[in-house]
Amino acid sequence: MLLMVDHVTRYVYDRPVRRVVQSHRLTPSRFDGQKTLDWTITVTDGVAGGSFRDGAGDLLQGWTVPGPVSEIEVRVTGRVETRDLVGVLRGHRELVMPDCYLNDTPSTRADMAIIALADLATGAANPLSSAHILSDAVAEAIAYRPGATKAQTTAAEALALGEGVCQDHAHVLIAAARHIGLPARYVSGYLLVTDENSEAAHAWAELHVAGLGWVGFDPANACCPDDRYIRLGSGLDAQDAAPIRGVSRGVGQESLDVKVAVLSEQQ
């Protein structure tokens, strides 16, 4: 499928700020499931820093805006041709060892409830079926409800609440998978959505299954990523995989507005 992305993040400051520094993980991954036809990132008054591909295969790019500025717009536009690989991240070059993704973080720490959920996979025939069992269980346990959780909500808190968004689904699945010894990571990207309640800026999880490699699971949509998905990058949790991380100097209060449109184009 040919997907077209228009992703605008607008930062508005009530007082001008200086020295805005950002680190972007905003370029589609290179693997057999997607091919980037064109891709442009612009930052208002931004100075591009060096870019590089990290050990996890993500393209990182630093940006600085000397300022003073009251508003910054980060705009990402491009076209990606995608293929359905039923979630398997085939042909992705990376150096980080899967074992690194067994380490937990404050937002993906397993509590008793997550351990109980992870125990559902006991007795599964193989790691792949364990992964499916966990993903289904997370989809079941957490209802999609925007606004129920915050960016800082942990996996344990989201599961206790029983509601959340894609970030919470992914965090709980990651925590449960790591608990049973499956390396798991957070993936950020885009999703072609048809109903207007869903978000085009999306996140899911990848679990490492011996023999298959990394396989994506999207408990929020109870499926594995297919050709409606564009993968940007990964990390131990949402913060580590964030498409944009940034800071500024100044006392201005920041307000954020994000608009993402993903459209498909018949070929």
């Binding site: 020295r19 520094v21 950002q22 680190s23 100075v47 591009a48 820093g49 060096g50 870019s51 590089f52 591909r53 990290d54 050990g55 996890a56 990182l60 790019q61 630093g62 600085t64 000397p66 150096l95 980080v96 060892m97 074992d99 690194c100 067994l102 380490n103 131990l236 913060q239 991380r245 940034g246 800071v247």
Partner: protein, 470 residues
């Protein structure tokens, strides 16, 4: 009571390196000694060399006790140590390049994957990035103890930012001022080239993009840090700027320092700040000490960071047990310096042995430093041992245990005169384009009779360390 090797007296005779020191002490009556000791203390106070002690309360700017009785090595003894230390520094750096690359040593089964990839000090963010000259650890502090004329053991490696080198330099400076005659009578190798070699080492790992004489800075967390004196001292001695996070900023592909003449590009940062705090955009987002965007500049080759982020995985106390294996694997050589036999509580057999022999062993936290969080079995009460047993059982993987070594002693000035006290040694190996070691190091001395804990944070003192010229 184990027999401890006395570095000055053996079978009632004075060992060669100390030959000229016996006359020196005999010719020094108690009054003169007290006078000199007071003079030394006044000098240390005047230059402001103090060491804040964590968690002990009291005066944070308290002086680290200085003992005037030097510790002496012969040229032959040192030559052997030097080879062993350099060998170790090479292997540790080869290990770091490997585990952030293909991880051959793990693939070959010589070290468990868990120990490397699930180590808190392993930084996923730098996988695949090879720092200039393939050096991760530019200043390797290797803690050594001696148990006999020919027997040295490595207690631990410090690959991140080992402190204490300012004491090595100041101890020498003060000894030369107080006892100039001693330095005429003995041919002692100088250590004062250290700052110049350090500067050269740091400049030699400037990033490829740097086409000019590299600008080197020392990045300190600030004056509240216990080693702040050392940071400013080294900046002074090297003639480089001492900066805090707020003095540096990222713009485009480079890092700049604010100066009165406007921004100045920085090429090499000798940082005395932990990985977790150096860049809120890559590591801890709440860090106020670091420089936002630094890691992106670093990984795209715009600046060098010494030690390289991620270097800590090589000096973890559990990884330590594999250093002899690293030397064989990367260098194809046999280790010249021995490791202390170590039991890993993460392993069931070792754990059982350790719990059985707690009273005889030294137990340490894998990530602990500064002499905190450790148990010294032979000098602990039954209650202390039981408390510690609970801590080990709660998290076995966090502990390793070693036998209590019969540390050597050197003569030390005490209240009653001169008495043997236990010592260790930390030399500072510099790794850049070349590997260099100044002949000397920091000798720490346990001032309490019978004590084996030399950490300055636990009331240890320091001595000048001499290497005699051939």
């Amino acid at each position: 009571m184990t027999a401890h090797f006395n570095e000055m007296y053996q079978n009632g005779a004075v060992r060669a390196p100390y030959a000229r020191l016996e006359g020196w002490t005999k010719a020094m009556p108690a009054e003169l000694r007290h006078l000199k000791q007071a003079e030394a203390e006044a000098l240390f106070r005047r230059i402001g060399i103090t060491f804040a002690v964590y968690g002990e309360g009291g005066d944070p700017d308290r002086l680290i006790p200085f003992d005037m009785f030097p510790r002496v090595f012969t040229a032959q003894e040192w030559a052997r140590l030097e080879r062993g230390i350099k060998q170790r520094a090479r292997a540790l750096n080869a290990f770091l390049v490997d585990v952030y690359g293909r991880g051959e040593i793990v693939r070959s089964g010589r070290i468990p994957a868990r120990l490397v990839y699930q180590n808190d000090a392993y930084e996923k963010a730098v996988v695949g990035f090879v720092p200039p000259k393939g050096v991760y650890s530019h200043i390797v502090g290797i803690d050594l103890v001696r148990t006999g004329p020919e027997d040295f053991f490595v207690l631990e490696d410090n690959c991140r930012t080992p402190s204490g080198v300012s004491y090595m330099l100041e101890n020498r400076e003060i000894m030369m001022r107080m006892f100039p005659d001693l330095f005429r009578e003995n041919r002692i190798e100088p250590v004062d080239r250290y700052p110049e070699i350090l500067r050269r080492t740091l400049a030699s790992v400037a990033p490829q993009k740097c086409r000019h004489d590299p600008v080197v800075v020392i990045l300190t967390p600030g004056h509240f840090n216990s080693a702040y004196y050392e940071h400013s001292f080294l900046a002074d001695m090297m003639g480089v700027e001492l900066v805090e996070g707020q003095d540096l900023f990222v713009q485009g592909e480079y890092v700049y320092m604010r100066t009165t003449e406007g921004p100045k590009r920085v090429d090499v940062i000798y940082r005395r700040i932990d990985d977790a705090f150096i860049d809120p955009l890559c590591f801890r987002p709440d860090s106020m000490l670091g420089i936002p965007g630094l890691m992106d500049v670093y990984r795209s080759g715009g600046v060098s960071i010494c030690s390289a982020p991620g270097a800590g995985v090589a000096d973890d106390k559990a990884v330590y047990t594999y250093v002899p294996e690293m030397i064989r694997f990367y260098l194809g050589e046999e280790p010249l310096l021995m490791n202390v036999p170590t039991w890993k509580c993460a392993e069931a057999d070792d754990l059982a042995y350790v719990l059985d022999k707690l009273g005889d062993l030294v137990v340490k936290e894998v990530h602990g430093s500064g002499g905190y969080g450790m148990l010294i079995g032979p000098t602990s009460s039954a209650a202390e041992i039981e408390t510690f047993r609970g801590r080990i059982l709660a998290d076995p993987g966090n502990y390793i245990a070693q036998p209590t070594l019969a540390l050597s002693t050197t003569p030390t000035f005490v209240e009653q005169g001169i008495a043997p006290r236990h010592v260790d040694l930390r030399p500072y190996c510099l790794v850049g384009e070349r590997i260099e070691l100044v002949p000397g190091g920091l000798t720490r001395v346990a001032l309490k009779e019978g004590s084996l804990v030399v950490n300055s944070s636990q009331g240890g003192g320091v001595k000048d360390t001499w290497v005699l010229a051939e």
